[in-house]
Symmetry: none
Subunit: 220 residues, 4 copies
DNA sequence: AATGAATGAGAATTCATTCAT
DNA sequence: CATGAATGAATTCTCATTCAT
């Protein structure tokens, strides 16, 4: 159900990058590594290509030989992350989690654990991602819809399943999706970008899951 | 329980700024206005002082005559916002909302409406604020604790009241605070910064309040 | 024997200043005072008029009302100093020192003491003077000849007197003048400008006088 | 008796500069050449990097690529000069001059000729040097002691030798050193900085040597 | 493929000077 | 006389990008 986005510059560029990104030299890997770290720390526009080159132990020209522009280097960082964050997650992870007759709480718990680990493993790229998305209109305007298109139907399907099993309240799916998306989003952003926390234990995940399921109101 | 913060460079600087900013020239006001708008749109470091000057109809030197540095101009924008976001909110708003024997849901509804309107009125500054906080370690390290100190005890008091009235579940206050803070935060950030939405109707507030109180799990 | 210098911009300007400089207001005096101190410390071109105004407790405009330009403020500082350094010194001091049948050594001693005290009293202006003379070709080209014209004949007369009394060797007067000028000059510059010494005791003056008279060679 | 100066920021910076400046591009050399000339003529702070770039036929950025800051360019000019003015002079020149049983007058003559030629060859750098030393407290405070430490013991040794040979009067060495230093200093500064003279003939050196040895008093 | 010297278009900031009040 | 807001040209410095080797 992925909409065609042929009019998107950014996604076109990303598609190009994917094709080229087969075999990276050692120097390219080092450049990416350093760039991710610096972009995450100081932001894209506060990081000089000269600094990347120096820390990566390559000449400045080398970066431009490989990536053409600084902007392109940024995209080359974001593309593989995006690829892994959604498409693979979507169809592999969701099926994996849904196979057994797992309870809704258990599903949430496993889902949050899985994504938390992925984001912790890629915390720097995630930071780069969010930071740039907030700044750059173009990026925001193209990626937010893309992400929604990727995530929305899968999330919808899951909610539908659990509504039918009687574990989720009978409100319109879109409404539940919004609430869930906002909660997940607030949770990840505040932990991994704003507070820069490096850990997340199971207990905390239990709390958030309990909250999502039961709210904080006391049942009469 | 509010910690003294006399050792804060940034907050000291802010205090100085407030004093100076009483009697503003027409040109100064115009500069601030334009700066807020540009910083919100493109971010602080992607906005040139030359552009601010041009749009404000002043010479570039005028900006520096009044604010000394570009950084200082940013602080001059953020300070009054911060001052109004917390201290005033805290002691006036909270009392106002709590006087009558308001229900928990009603409290949440009113609180969210009030803060939503404030943020809609100051959406651009809020964006500047969040964007810079994400980038600048110094800002983050001083403001996050400050905000927590301002908000935490007040939030705690409210939860305590409603727990005693039997409207909020008997979990540790700190746990409920975390969950609420994350939800509010995710809600505001995703709406006003990431999605850049300009409206919020009462129905949506009802949804989020219902979610906070009841969760999305179905009661058996 | 003072040559006419009608073609000199600088000396003309100075002449104008002299005429205007009759009655100074309290603010003017404060401006001059602060300017001298700052020019001496950091040099003319490293001192901002804004700083002078601030330390003098006046508005920036006030400086320009009185002195027109920053350059003119500098000249207004140098003129009275120059006036006292040479013309008055020349005809009053020299006569005073030469009246009695003073010995050459005694003359040198008194002369050095007198000029040393004058320079110590005006050390800051002297520093301004030398520093600017070194930098500004125009100043150098006009003032060095002027100073030579003022000092040279008077020094020549003194040497002549002591040669006739048999206390100074019979070398060409110009040669002795050069040597003396260089020595005096080196002495004052190194002490009061480069090393920034604030004191000079009689013993040191005795040494330099002894050296000028006898050299450091041992007599057989 | 040479003090360790490991705590000197400026001198450390200079050491770094030397290492980098081994293999200079043609453009770098041109930049240095032009900078020396302009700094000497108008002083460091009255020379714009734009002007240096223009006269050197390079882009302004090139200057900053190589030297980082304008200040650093200044140091890059001064360092090699300083290195040659003292250390090499000291141990090579002094020994060379002292080997034969040269007379004191002859020593002075040769010494002055040698240093005069060095300063004439480097007149512009010498001017840069003196001009900046007068202005910048930091430079003065680090270099004046350094120069004294370099020059003082060597000068002392020479005086000692000639005192023992009976050619120099038996006054305390420190006193003779002061007098000599002041004379040399006044001589070089007044000629090469203030008067900007381009020549020095043997006759003039003979005069100054004669003066140093015999003074200007007539022997009875 | 890799280098790194060179570029030049901005960027922030400074400052003497003007002028309306 | 005095003020101080406003100016705008000049200055130092940054940085993505190019290109000859």
């Amino acid at each position: 159900m992925v909409t065609e986005m042929g009019n998107s510059n950014l996604l076109n560029k990303m598609a190009e990058i994917i094709q080229k990104s087969d075999n990276q030299t050692a120097k390219q890997k080092k450049i990416m590594e350093v760039a991710i770290s610096l972009f995450a720390e100081k932001g894209y526009s506060n990081t000089a290509t000269a600094e990347i080159a120096k820390l990566a132990g390559v000449a400045e020209g080398t970066i431009f030989k490989h990536y053409g522009t600084k902007e392109n280097l940024l995209l080359s960082i974001m593309v593989p992350f995006l690829k892994e964050l959604f498409p693979s997650m979507a169809d592999e992870l969701f099926e994996e989690l849904m196979t057994d007759n797992i309870s809704f709480e258990e599903f949430l718990r496993k889902f949050l654990k899985n994504r938390t680990h992925f984001l912790l493993d890629n915390q720097e790229i995630f930071q780069v991602f969010i930071k740039e998305m907030i700044y750059k209109e173009e990026l925001k305007n193209e990626l937010v819809p893309y992400i929604f298109e990727q995530a929305s139907p899968r999330l919808g399907k899951v909610i539908d399943v659990f509504q039918k099993r009687g574990e989720v309240i009978d409100l319109p799916i879109s409404q539940i999706k919004n609430v869930l998306a906002t909660t997940f989003f607030g949770f990840f952003i505040s932990r991994f970008v704003l507070l820069n926390l490096q850990l997340l234990n199971d207990e905390e995940i239990d709390h958030i899951v309990h909250f999502i399921v039961n709210g904080i109101g006391k049942r009469s």
